[in-house]
Symmetry: C2
Subunit: 109 residues, 2 copies
DNA sequence: CTGACGCATCAACGAATCTTGATTATGGAG
DNA sequence: CTCCATAATCAAGATTCGTTGATGCGTCAG
């Protein structure tokens, strides 16, 4: 059933999103990016972390849609993606909200 | 330094919170709990999952503060904890908000 | 008391995740 | 072209996580 597939993809995306937020290094990166665009070298200095480590975490954040990147010469600049953050907040709001009439009718989920 | 310790504990708590949200089974549990209190047996039926598996995930959710439990006879009832969900939403809002004047003054983090 | 039920906990295993150091790819400087 | 800087990717190892089946603990019924 198509809706099943969609539900699956929806869940996968949500899982990836919260997984990306569930790591200290990645949260530190996001905190830094609140102050604006940063290149990887800025972050290695600020967080005192190896370059390959940051590349790894930046990829996780990017795959989750939490950041976007841009190349300028030999530098890669990373920026927060507020859209995805908003979606994350929405997902949480949904969890703490009462089920709709339609949801109550169909039982659940 | 005390503030360092506090910052560490704060980060740990945040990491645990989002980690708890980054699993399909746990998200399904939370979805069910939106409809109200449920015992473990309800959830094993609804999610078609082994009992020990649900116990494991419920513990993760409880340790993160996302649910609370209550014993009634031989049944354990689990309930959503909206406070923690609100905190999660706040954490995300902070990430997507512009840094305060004080934050900009002290550089960052 | 005894047996059954509901659930938590444990041990063991495979899978996923994170870190580190080395290698590769890309772009700019000389 | 050659060399250096920046960053992505890879391989290997350590750690954490999730699942399963077995065991233990508390509670109720008979």
């Amino acid at each position: 059933m198509a809706t099943r597939t969609h539900a699956r993809a929806y869940t996968d995306r949500t899982v990836r999103l919260f997984h990306a937020l569930s790591d200290g290094t990645r949260l530190s990166i996001l905190q830094r990016l609140r102050f604006g665009e940063r290149c990887v070298c800025d972050l290695t200095d600020a967080l005192d972390a190896a370059q390959s480590r940051l590349s790894f975490h930046l990829k996780v954040l990017k795959d989750a849609g939490l950041v976007t990147d841009r190349r300028d010469g030999r530098w890669m600049y990373y920026t927060l993606n507020p859209e995805t953050l908003d979606q994350a907040a929405e997902l949480i709001d949904t969890l703490s909200s009462a089920p709709s009439a339609a949801e109550r009718k169909t039982g659940c989920c």
